[in-house]
């Protein structure tokens, strides 16, 4: 008994200093209420995040955080935080997927609208247009000639709703025994649950069907 106790004491003593090396990862929680302070009536298009890559690529994505203490807009349904993206100038050959990223515990409840260069509203999307595309709850569209910005705000009506999903996969573990590595693949079937939030990560994925163009 004493040997066992001593062994545990040695292990605990060895492990104690290691605890200081571990960095706790903070998982962002869903933001279920938002009042906003200093919100404006129109978005600041000067802060738009560019969607133009340095070099044309078949696909690339750009993210923008929608936060509780960032820019916000006054709206009919109350204040909403927002982020705005600037479409590439040559957007005729582009397809866009825009929405909220499926994070560990939350999904930004996205409301995507398109704006002209002067900020005029050109297009909105209905609730039925939002679908789960991989890890993005999103709409998909091709920009029209007169569209210049993508505005992502929050759909308050969806905030607080839960998205439950089941994710199936496999997991392989390897062990070294009797001079050989042995691997074993087992199935995984995990239930996941996320809540739609006022805050979260917005993402735009840009697909380019013509990367050879010179103009």
């Amino acid at each position: 008994m004493r040997i066992v106790f001593t062994a545990w004491a040695v292990l605990a003593a060895a492990a104690a200093p290691l605890a200081g090396c571990v960095t706790a990862v903070e998982v962002p929680l869903p933001l279920l209420a938002f009042t906003g302070a200093g919100c404006t009536d129109t978005p600041d298009l000067g802060t738009a995040i560019s969607l133009t890559p340095e070099k044309e690529r078949v696909s690339h994505y750009v993210t923008g955080a929608v936060t509780a203490d960032g820019a916000c807009l006054n709206g009919e349904a109350g204040a909403t935080p927002y982020v705005v993206f600037a479409l590439p100038a040559d957007h005729a050959d582009k397809t866009m997927t825009v929405g909220g990223v499926l994070e560990a515990t939350r999904i930004l409840s996205p409301r995507v609208t398109l704006l002209a260069s002067d900020g005029t509203l050109t297009r909105t999307f209905a609730a039925e247009d939002y679908l789960y595309r991989g890890a993005l709850y999103s709409v998909q569209f091709r920009p029209r000639e007169d569209e210049a910005f993508i505005l992502v705000t929050t759909d308050a009506g969806r905030v607080g709703q839960r998205y439950d999903s089941i994710v199936v996969g496999t997991n392989t573990t390897s062990t070294y025994a009797a001079g050989a590595y042995v691997s074993w693949t087992a199935g995984t079937d995990d239930a996941q649950s996320r809540i739609f939030s006022y805050a979260g990560m917005a993402q735009v994925t840009v697909y380019d069907s013509d990367t050879d163009e010179t103009d």
Binding site: V58, S59, T95, T97, A126, E128, D129, L131, Y132, R133, G134, A135, L136, Q140, F141, R142, D164, S165, I166, V168, G169, T170, S183, W184, T185, A186, G187, T188, D189, T205, Y207, S209
Partner: protein, 234 residues
């Protein structure tokens, strides 16, 4: 059979490292489509009953060969059970597509046509009723049940590609997308539907013992694909 399993396994596991899928979004205002013909042969003849990380697959070539036999026998048993109650997956899906697309304000009719040599879009479309503006080509690449591995639940699974092709503009693609229901590692850009927890079985014995629920699970998966395809035509 072995090739079929390889295709399904590759589709399910290689997706994570593949190029993102990009669909063709539909612009209803500019398409001018009122009358749609839904093409035939939307569902493959055989269902799948695929256990991804089976015990046998962990035992090299011999284990893999034994596993192929087990999977094949399981598919045959499920096909027989569903056949006994007269379940017709294709009729179920096509009826639901017609209803769902009609609900979006289109005139919709099924059009009889040749069977597909492969689970791919038609290269040419049969004559449809006068006034047809577009063909809706729905290709289910696989459907059935999937378990992640031994002692994991069996749930419905299905994958489909959908395409709306202009009948007036020389086959111009007006919309195209891929929809998966309960897929392993869904590819970025692919529309992903999570399985309905109501349709889950512990093992093959449970599946064979309740053919009505077995069929209802597949029907639910295909219905959700049909409704999603119709949503893309809003």
């Amino acid at each position: 059979m072995f090739r079929k399993l390889l295709v399904i396994a590759a589709a399910m596991t290689a997706a994570a490292c593949a190029t993102p899928y990009v669909g063709t979004p539909y612009d209803r205002a500019g398409a001018g489509v009122q009358q749609i013909a839904v093409t035939d042969d939307s569902v493959p003849e055989r269902l799948t009953a695929y256990e991804a990380a089976s015990v046998g697959s962990n035992f090299g070539l011999i284990g893999a060969l034994v596993d192929v036999g087990i999977q094949s026998n399981r598919e045959a048993a499920m096909t027989r059970v569903l056949g006994d109650i007269g379940f017709d997956a294709e009729a179920s899906l096509e009826q639901r597509i017609v209803a769902a697309v009609s609900a979006q304000g289109y005139e919709v009719a099924l059009v009889e046509g040749p069977d597909r040599a492969k689970r791919e879009f038609h290269l040419a479309y049969p004559d449809a009723a006068p006034g047809t503006d577009a063909y809706l080509d729905v290709v289910v690449t696989y459907y059935g049940y999937l378990a992640a591995g031994a002692f994991q639940p069996w749930r419905p699974t299905a994958e489909a590609t959908v395409r709306l092709v202009s009948a007036r503009e020389g086959g111009k693609v007006l919309m195209e997308n891929m929809i998966v229901y309960n897929s392993m590692y869904p590819q970025e850009g692919v529309i992903t539907l999570t399985p309905n927890p109501d349709f889950s079985f512990a093992n093959q014995g449970e599946m064979e013992a309740d053919p009505a629920k077995l069929a209802a699970g597949i029907e639910d998966a295909l219905n959700q694909i049909a409704v999603t395809a119709a949503q893309l035509l809003r």
